[in-house]
């Protein structure tokens, strides 16, 4: 994830009846038990969680809630479903914690398990169709750089086209891009999450996705083709 939020030491209570605009960061479950976990490797944290260490659970929840929530919202617009699934997921996680084996990358493990749950649920409700083709609305990419000075119309046009091209990629390709460029997972973790055979498989997926941009450059207007070549 691009910007991992920094943990805040004290707790800002939120006043439910009050509509005060000064809403500051609120971590109701951030307890002092977290402090020692921040620098520990994933393996150790997961082991502590398995051994019913409550601080470990709230740490894991705190660290990865947004990751899972964002993933869920890429796949369906219905946030209520995502919330229900998340709740179910964490309850289930606690129930079966002693049965899980060693986990070396908690983020990848949680994403993989949650992804399975989400897909199963949406398939059951016939909301999701996992065909090989692409489906719009899932893993929509926006291509823009906040820091850039959008001074030339040329640059804006260029960005718009790249964005269109990126969203013409297959759903699987966009999903891989999501894990690689948004969640900053490595190829091995992506394969784990998407249940592909090896790290090479996910690398090929990314390569294919980006290469198709190059391949489709003829779809860009001529004056743009030259600069697109500069990208890749």
């Amino acid at each position: 994830m691009k910007n991992q939020s920094n943990s805040i030491p004290f707790v800002e209570k939120e006043d439910e009846e009050n509509n005060c605009e000064a809403k500051e960061n609120e971590k109701l479950f951030y307890s002092r038990r977290h402090y020692s976990l921040k620098d520990k490797p994933d393996k150790a944290i997961w082991r502590a969680f398995q051994q019913k260490h409550e601080g470990a659970f709230s740490f894991i929840y705190d660290q990865y809630f947004e990751t899972l929530y964002n993933y869920g919202c890429q796949v369906t617009r219905d946030t209520a479903i995502v919330e229900d699934l998340l709740q179910d997921f964490f309850v289930g996680l606690r129930l079966s914690r002693q049965k899980t084996s060693e986990v070396s990358c908690i983020k990848a493990y949680l994403l993989k398990s949650f992804r399975r749950k989400v897909i199963r649920h949406l398939k059951k409700k016939k909301i999701l169709f996992l065909d090989k083709g692409f489906s719009e609305g899932n893993f929509t990419i926006s291509f823009h750089h906040d820091m850039q000075f959008m001074n030339t119309q040329f640059q804006q046009e260029q960005q718009k086209y790249i964005e269109q091209m990126l969203n013409k990629l297959t759903r699987r390709e966009r999903e891989a891009i999501y894990y690689f460029y948004f969640e900053n997972l490595d190829y091995k973790s992506i394969s784990q999450v998407m249940e592909l055979s090896s790290a090479k498989s996910s690398r090929n997926l990314i390569y294919k996705a980006l290469a198709s941009l190059k391949k489709n450059k003829h779809m860009f207007p001529e004056w743009l083709q030259y600069s697109v070549m500069l990208w890749i």
């Binding site: 030491p9 004290f10 707790v11 209570k13 109701l28 291509f143 823009h144 990126l166 390569y207």
Partner: protein, 346 residues
């Protein structure tokens, strides 16, 4: 790890795990590596810049303002888990509140509520007394480790530090009067017709519109009023005297002793911005304040000889960082445990 980065094209960079990680989540190690590599390969600088730009331009929709949902779901997860642990025989499908089940429960609660409201209304009507000006008060409390920001009925903003209490009416009448204990920072809306009064034991502070901090400890009978902006008048019933305070002035009232000084903003007001500041503090003061700030207990061990005093400021740091900073210059060892922090004096 020796890769032929100098032969890399833009495509190679954007698909390289190590390069991508550096751009998206730079660590000290990655920064060091790539900065030095770029410095020794200046011909690649532009390509690297392009690759960075490309990587930083790929965005997906990110959900914002999730704190409420996050906390609410956490609460439900813990509740469900408790239910399951005390009643292991109940199957998961009964307790997992997925969508439809939750709606059904919510509906029955609503029906139950409205039914009881109906009953209440019926019975109340007969015994209704004459409508009187009864003021309804709200009391807000914070515990150790908590801070709370809220808005008063006139739009004034207050922030409570840990272990503090504020009492205020749901609507202000001719005067705006509140009472408090502990430490509260006020940002009062200007209203020339309605003075704003804060009662702290024998002392009351009156303002028209201003921002100030009050620290009132009932056990020690000490009231401290510090003004950030505007003007404030402080009256003490015990000596029947009033004092005026201007910005950057702090008045300390100790039963019948009063003293006015200038104050350091971070030291006195820093708490509301997450700044923990110490000035010539000994270990007892340090642990007392950390206890309140972080909601931790301390166990101090070792020889009780004169300790070094500590001065310093920390902004939004974790307990560990603060203890690291203080122990370095104050010569003690600490260890953080599940339920307390142990300090070993040297």
């Amino acid at each position: 790890m020796a890769k032929d980065y100098h032969t890399y094209t833009l495509f190679d960079f954007i698909t390289d795990e190590r390069f991508k990680s550096w751009v998206l989540e730079p660590t000290d190690e990655l920064n060091y590596f790539w900065q030095s590599w770029i410095n020794s390969h200046p011909e690649k600088a532009e390509e690297v810049a392009r690759a960075r730009e490309f990587l930083l331009s790929i965005n997906f929709q990110k959900q914002e303002n999730n704190q409420e949902k996050k906390a609410a779901i956490y609460a439900r997860v813990m509740e469900s888990s408790k239910k399951l642990s005390t009643n292991p025989s109940s199957s998961r499908s009964q307790t997992s509140l997925t969508g439809f089940t939750r709606l059904k429960i919510a509906a029955s609660v609503v029906i139950l509520l409205s039914f009881s409201l109906l009953l209440l209304n019926r019975s109340g009507e007969k015994n209704q007394p004459e409508k009187s000006e009864v003021k309804v008060y709200k009391i807000k409390k914070t515990r150790r480790g908590e801070k709370l920001t809220l808005m008063l009925p006139d739009g004034s903003k207050v922030k409570l530090n840990s272990e503090s209490t504020l009492k205020y009416p749901t609507s202000f009448g001719g005067q705006r009067e509140v009472s408090m204990e502990g430490e509260v920072f006020f940002e009062v809306e200007r209203d020339t017709l309605k003075p704003f009064i804060v009662k702290t034991g024998q002392v009351s502070t009156e303002v028209l519109g201003t921002s100030f901090n009050i620290n009132y400890s009932p056990e020690d009978s000490i009231v401290e009023v510090a003004v950030a902006s505007g003007k404030v008048s402080v009256t003490s019933k015990s000596v029947n005297e009033s004092f005026y305070l201007l910005p950057r002035e702090v008045l300390t009232c100790e039963t019948s002793k009063f003293s006015k000084k200038y104050f350091d903003e971070d030291l006195l007001l820093g708490w509301k911005d997450g700044i923990l500041a110490f000035e010539n503090a000994n270990i007892n003061e340090i642990t007392r304040r950390l206890s309140t700030w972080y909601d931790v207990d301390f166990d101090i061990r070792g020889p009780a000889k004169t300790q070094r005093k500590f001065s310093g400021k920390f902004k939004n740091r974790t307990l560990r960082d603060v203890l690291d900073g203080i122990s370095y210059s104050s010569n003690f060892e600490f260890s953080i445990h599940q339920d307390k922090v142990v300090i070993e004096l040297e």
